[in-house]
Each structure stands twice: as C-alpha cells, then as structure tokens.
C-alpha cells in the first residue's frame, strides 16, 4: 500500500470533499455553497487527526484521533461547538459515503477472484457475527439491568 505525504493527503481529501459536495447537493436538500464550511471543517479535522496519528508517540491510529477530535469540537459547551454543529447540519452523512464506496468498488475489481472464493463463507460468517454481537450485548445488558434492579 502506498503511503501519501501530508500534502498529497490534503489534495486527496479536497478531491473527495468536492465529490461529496456534488453528491450532497444532488442527494440531499442542502445547497452546494452552504455545505462548503462544513466540509472545510471536516477536512481540517481529518488532516489534524492524520498528522497526530503519524507524529504523536503511542502508535494510536489516526482514525481514533479523527473521531475523538470530531467529538470534542462538537461537545456541548465547547466554544466553537454551536458553530460547527450548524455547519455540519448541511453535510449529510450518507452522501459522504458514496464516493468512498465508489473507490471501494473500483478497488474490489482487483480482488474479485479472492472475493468470489470466500464469498458464501463471508456471508455466513457475517450472519454469525451479527448474532454473536447482538446476543453478547444483550446478555451483558440483561445481567446488569437485573443487578441494578432496573428491570
């Protein structure tokens, strides 16, 4: 896998940002221009998080910093939170997924044979994983609710 430097990373984020803007305009009721501030903030958060993941010690992946930064900046009471929340309202979550999955689709073309080979196994495995996670959580919730006397 290729490692991009910070400038290349920024350019990629801007390219995907523009695509998301176009998708956001078509797919939701938000205007093109009014979504721009939100996307700029998202690009800034992503850049900051990626940089922290690369240069801070501890080996924590950039994705953890990105999510955490997004959380902190929108936590009620933080000075910029209201402004950022207002900007984010104009950027839909689903339109952001569309370009990413388009890239994913193109990339999967390379591994079609490998996917076809493990296809039905992955589908069965997915079902088991859904059941395992659901029941695992339900059991713990049941035990604790009972212990606390909430049910």
């Amino acid at each position: 896998m290729k490692i991009y430097n910070m400038i290349e990373t920024l350019i990629i984020l801007v390219i995907v940002g523009i695509m998301s803007l176009i998708g956001n305009t078509i797919g939701s009721k938000n205007g093109f221009v009014e979504a721009i501030p939100g996307l700029l903030i998202l690009i800034a958060i992503a850049m900051a998080g990626i940089a922290m993941g690369r240069y801070l010690p501890g080996g924590i992946p950039g994705v953890a910093y990105v999510v955490t930064l997004g959380c902190i900046l929108t936590y009620p009471g933080i000075p910029c939170a209201d402004f950022i929340n207002a900007c984010m309202k104009k950027v839909g979550f689903l339109p952001l997924c569309t370009p990413i999955l388009a890239y994913a689709g193109v990339s999967i073309g390379k591994d079609l044979d490998a996917f076809a080979h493990s296809g039905w196994r992955i589908v069965v495995l997915s079902c088991v994983i859904f059941i395992g996670t659901y029941l695992g959580s339900a059991i713990i919730a049941q035990v604790i609710l009972k212990y606390l006397g909430q049910i």
Binding site: I43, V106, L125, T133, Y134
Partner: protein, 266 residues
C-alpha cells in the same frame, strides 16, 4: 493521487448513484433500504476488466490506496455526530455502557468459524468486529484495504450494508419471541451496528411492545451513538489484539504450526 481518470470515473458514479437516490420497500416484517453508496459500490465493481473493462490494474490499485484517506473525511463527520449526544450518553444507565463489551462476543464466535471455513488473514478483518465504517477505517489504516485483512472487513461490511438491516429486524423479533431477554436489554443490544440496523431492530421491538416504545427507541439510539465512539477504541485495544491472539492459537491447532510468512501478523 494524480490519476484524474479514476477521480473522473468516481465523480460520474457518485452523480449517477445520487440521482437514483434512496429506495426502500417492505419485505415481510422488515424493510430493505437501497442507498446510493450501494449503487456506487456495485457500479464500481462492474467497471473491472472482467466486466465492462473501463478501469485497468493501476486504477484499481490507486483506488485501493486512496481509500484509507477518503475514509478519514467520513470519520470526522462520525465524530461530529457523536459529540453533541455525549452528555446524554454519559448520564445513561451503566448497563448501556457495559453492554458494549458484548462486541467481544463477535470475536469468540467469529474467529473460530472463519478459520473453520479456511479463511486465513481475512479472519482478522472479518471477525474482529461487526465491521461498520470505523472498523473499515481502522483496518484500512493498519493493514491496507487491498490486503487479506482488508478483504475480510470489506466482505462483512458489504454483507451488512446489503442485508444487515433486514437481518437485525428479524433477529430482534426472534430474540424477543424465543429468548428470555427483557426488551430493554434487546433494545440496548440493537445499537451494536449501523444506524439503519438499530432502527430496524428497535422497530421490531417497538411493534411487539408498543407500551415501551419510547424507552426502547431511546436505549437503541443511545447505544448506537455509544458504539460509534467506543466501538473504535475497543477494537484498537481489545478486539484486534484478541483476534490476533486467537488467530495464532487456532492456526496452530488447525495446521500444527504457528502462522509464518503470508499468514503471520505483520
């Protein structure tokens, strides 16, 4: 990065997919939701040399290495979705917070089954979590999505995207009907996956227990928001290391030696 053909193609896919828009229809007790991202994914696959032959090997490779960075934009949005709801989550029942450890149930069931099926490094990506967006981003960053681990996580992610919603709707009603769980516990468990999975699961529960409906929806939504945040930390510090370790021991058990070469952890 400079592959403008690839970006152009993706832009066209995005426009077509968004123009088609969201469609949903009822199937039995559940609802199947078709999202633009799903069309974009499928169209993208069909551009491969095997089908329409629009993209070449380099385009596909570039797309794979770009993915990790493109996901960061989505993760930033994810964080801003969770942030405003954090105070509500923190003040919620401890049961809500502790049930998140149920995510580890995925590993204990998933890893042995995946390896029984003969999957190798795919197991790490596929069975470490329920494979929603943060988990895909994590695997992309750590192993690359064009690796075996990446194929594993994408496989489960795509399965979840395609039939996860209807599966969760059915599973919740079956569990409520046949297993000795309180509806509150099931509602809290409904939040383990994506928002649409949670909506479907809580929807089924609300239909069965209309008098508890508000509480069920609140528990489901809070649990879902919480999963979005701590699911990632849990994957980094608990689930992924646990998956790697189980993988190693089951590999030894199955093949007689510890994994080496391509099968070993990187």
């Amino acid at each position: 990065m400079k592959n403008f053909k690839l970006h152009g193609i993706v832009l066209v896919l995005v426009i077509i997919a968004e123009l088609i828009g969201i469609h949903q229809f009822k199937v039995g007790v559940g609802v199947i939701v078709l999202l633009p991202m799903l069309y974009a994914l499928i169209f993208g696959i069909f551009l491969a040399p095997k089908f329409l032959n629009v993209v070449n090997k380099i385009d596909m490779q570039d797309a794979g290495s770009l993915l990790g960075i493109t996901l960061m934009l989505l993760m930033a949005r994810y964080g801003t979705l969770v942030g405003p709801t954090l105070p509500k989550i923190i003040s919620a029942s401890p049961a809500l917070i502790l049930q998140e450890f149920g995510n580890l149930g995925t590993v204990f069931l998933g890893v042995p089954l995946a390896m029984y099926f003969g999957l190798k490094r795919e197991t790490i990506g596929a069975a470490h979590s329920i494979a929603r967006e943060p988990n895909v981003a994590l695997i992309a960053e750590r192993y690359g999505l064009d690796s075996a681990e990446g194929r594993g996580v994408m496989g489960v992610y795509i399965s979840g995207t395609v039939f996860g919603t209807i599966f969760f709707g059915l599973m919740a009603s079956m569990a409520a009907a046949y297993l000795p769980f309180h509806p509150y516990a099931l509602a809290m468990a409904s939040g383990v996956g994506s928002a649409s999975m949670m909506t479907a699961a809580v929807g089924s529960l609300s239909a069965m227990y209309p008098q508890m409906s508000d509480q069920l929806v609140a528990f489901g939504a809070a649990s879902n928001m919480l999963s979005g945040l701590d699911g990632l930390y849990m994957a980094i510090w608990l689930a992924l290391p646990l998956t790697e370790r189980m993988y190693k021991y089951i590999y030894k058990f199955k093949y007689g030696v510890y994994p080496t070469g391509e099968d070993a952890a990187k």
